[in-house]
C-alpha cells in the first residue's frame, strides 16, 4: 500500500460537516447548553474551538485558558485570545498556579524534581477546572486529543484526554493541521510546534523522537493492517523505528480503555456489558 503524504488527505469540507454534526447531535441529545474546552493556543484546541463554534454558535462555547506560571508563554496566551475573538467564544482566563501550589504543599510525597508527575498533575488540574465549569453551567466537556497522540499514549491518563466527546480523535496530527486551515485557524497557530505544556520548553516531536509527518504515516500503515516490514520498506526507514512505534502504541492501551476488572460473573462492567453511549 502506498504511504505517501497524500493518503492522509481527506475531503475537509465533508470532515468539517461531519464533526459539526457530531458535536451538535451530542449536545442536543444530552440537552446541554453548550461545550466547555481548554484553550491552550495550540492547533488541536483551536480546531476544536472552531468546530464547536461552527456547530453551536460561539456564544455556546466556553473556552477556558488554564495557564500556570512555569509554562505560560505570551505567544500561547495571545493565540488563545485570537481564537476567542475570531470565533466569538465566551472565555475565562484562570491562573491555576495557586491550585497547583496548594496541591504540592498538601502532598507529603511531592517532589519538585519529578517533572513528569508534576506535569501530569497540571493536566489533571486542568481537567478538574473543565469539569467544574461543565457541571456548574450545564455544559459538555469537549476534548481536543488527536489520533497521533492518542495512539502513542502521549497524554495524561485522566488528564488532558478526559472529556465527554473527543471530536478529532480519529484524525492524525497532520490531518488536524489541514482541517485547522480549512476551518480558519490562523497559520501561526497551525505551524507552531505542538506542546502539552507540562513543563517549560516541552515539545511533542522532540519528546516522541519523530516528526509527525513520519509518525502519522507509520500509524496510518498500522491502521490499514500493514506489517512493520512493509511500512519500513515503503517509508524507507529502519524497521526498528516502526517496531518501536508499534510497541508504544500497543503498550498504551491501558490509557485508552478504562475500567478493567477481573471477570467473575455473567456480565461485567468494562468487559462484556455493551451498552449505547449516547445520552438517553
Amino acid at each position: 500500500m502506498n504511504l505517501s503524504a497524500d493518503v492522509l488527505d481527506l475531503d475537509w469540507a465533508e470532515v468539517d460537516q461531519r464533526l459539526c454534526r457530531f458535536i451538535k447531535d451530542y449536545i442536543d441529545r444530552a440537552r446541554a447548553d453548550g461545550v466547555v474546552l481548554g484553550l491552550s493556543g495550540g492547533v488541536d484546541s483551536s480546531t476544536i474551538a472552531a468546530l464547536s463554534a461552527r456547530a453551536l454558535g460561539g456564544r455556546n462555547v466556553l473556552g477556558l485558558t488554564l495557564f500556570e506560571k512555569e509554562t505560560r508563554k505570551s505567544e500561547d496566551v495571545s493565540h488563545a485570545e485570537l481564537i476567542v475573538k475570531k470565533f466569538g467564544l465566551k472565555s475565562e482566563a484562570i491562573d491555576i498556579t495557586s491550585a497547583l501550589e496548594a496541591f504540592n504543599r498538601s502532598a507529603p510525597l511531592f517532589d519538585s524534581e519529578d517533572k513528569l508527575n508534576n506535569g501530569n498533575v497540571k493536566a489533571r488540574m486542568r481537567m478538574v477546572y473543565a469539569y467544574y465549569y461543565a457541571n456548574r453551567l450545564g455544559l459538555i466537556v469537549c476534548g481536543s486529543s488527536d489520533k497521533s497522540e492518542t495512539m502513542m499514549g502521549y497524554f495524561t491518563k485522566w488528564g488532558d484526554v478526559a472529556a465527554d466527546i473527543s471530536p478529532i480523535m480519529d484524525l492524525y496530527k497532520t490531518q488536524v493541521r489541514s482541517l485547522a486551515r480549512y476551518v480558519g485557524v490562523p497559520e501561526a497557530i497551525v505551524e507552531k510546534p505542538s506542546s502539552p505544556a507540562l513543563w517549560p520548553n516541552q515539545f511533542a516531536e522532540e519528546e516522541l523522537g519523530i516528526r509527525y509527518e513520519q509518525l502519522d504515516l507509520i500509524l496510518f500503515g498500522f491502521e490499514r493492517f500493514m506489517k512493520p516490514e512493509e511500512i519500513a520498506a515503503r517509508l524507507n526507514i529502519k524497521k526498528s523505528l516502526v517496531e518501536a512505534v508499534k510497541h508504544r502504541w500497543l503498550s498504551a492501551e491501558h490509557k485508552r480503555r478504562m475500567l478493567l476488572t477481573a471477570k467473575l460473573e455473567y456480565r461485567t462492567v468494562g468487559a462484556d456489558f455493551r451498552l449505547q453511549r449516547s445520552p438517553l
Binding site: 460537516q17 461531519r18 454534526r21 457530531f22 447531535d25 451530542y26 456480565r267 456489558f273 455493551r274 451498552l275 449505547q276 453511549r277 449516547s278 438517553l280
Partner: protein, 277 residues
Amino acid sequence: MKEQFKIALAQISCRQGNKTENIAKISKNISKAKKQGAELVVFPEMSLTGYVIKDEVYDLAERIPGPSTKIIENLAKKNDIHVIFGMPETNPQTEATLHNSAVLVGPDGYIGKYRKMYLPTHSIFEEKRYFRPGYEAAVFDTELGKLGFIICYDIYFPEVTRLTRLKGAKLIVCISASPGVRRAYFEILTLARAIENTAYFAYVNLAGVEDGLQFWGGSRLVGPSGRVLVQAKYDVEDFVTHEVDYSDIRPIEAFLPTLRDLRPELFDQLKHGAEQL
C-alpha cells in the same frame, strides 16, 4: 397486479432504543406517504429501535408478527398502504436467538419477513454477536408485484439479490444502516445490483448519528438500467417519492439480457470455490 405505483423512501433517523418515539415517526411518515399518493413506503434497517442498541437488543427484540408489527399493520390498514421496515426479531422457538429482520405489511395486514443473511462482524459492526443469519431469500407476491428483500451488508454478496430476482422480484428493496465511511461502496453497489438483475432497486438508509456513527442517508430508487431515478439527501432525514413502472424492465432486459445469459454450471464452481476458501 399493478404495473405502476408510487414508492416513498422514508429516510429517518431513530432514537436508539425508543420504540415509542420511532413508531411515532414511522406513523407520521406513513401518513405523509399516503398524502403524496404512495402505495409503498420503505423505512431503514432496524428503524423500529435504532441500529446501535447493543445489549439492549435482548429487551427490544420481538416476535414477528408481534406487538410492534401489529401497530404498523394497523397503520398500513388505516392508510391503505404497504410498509417495509426493519427490527430485531426474537426467534419463536428459542427466545435468545435473534434475527435482524425486514417486515412487510400491507392494507390487509402482515405479509412476511426477511432475515438478514450476511451479518457484518468487523470494524464497528458486531451483528454476529447478537443475531443468527437467515437462510432464505424472501420474495412476496403483492398487488404491487413481487417484492424482494435484502438488508444492508447483503448487498456485497450479489447472490442474495440474484436469488430474489430468480424468484420473480422486479422491485428489490434494500433497507440499510450504513455509516458514512461506507458510502462510496454503496453508491456503486446499489447501481450494480439494479443493472445486473435488470430490476428496480430501492435503497433506504438511516440518517443521523448513533453513538458517533453517522449514517449517510442517500436513499435512492435505481431503475433497471442503473439510473438513479430519485435520491434523498446525504446524512440528514429526508423523504422522497418516485414512480415504479415495471413496463420499463422488458426493454432493458432485451437490451442487456443478463438473466437470459445466466450460466448455471458456473454456480457449481462458485460453490466449490467458496467451500475450498
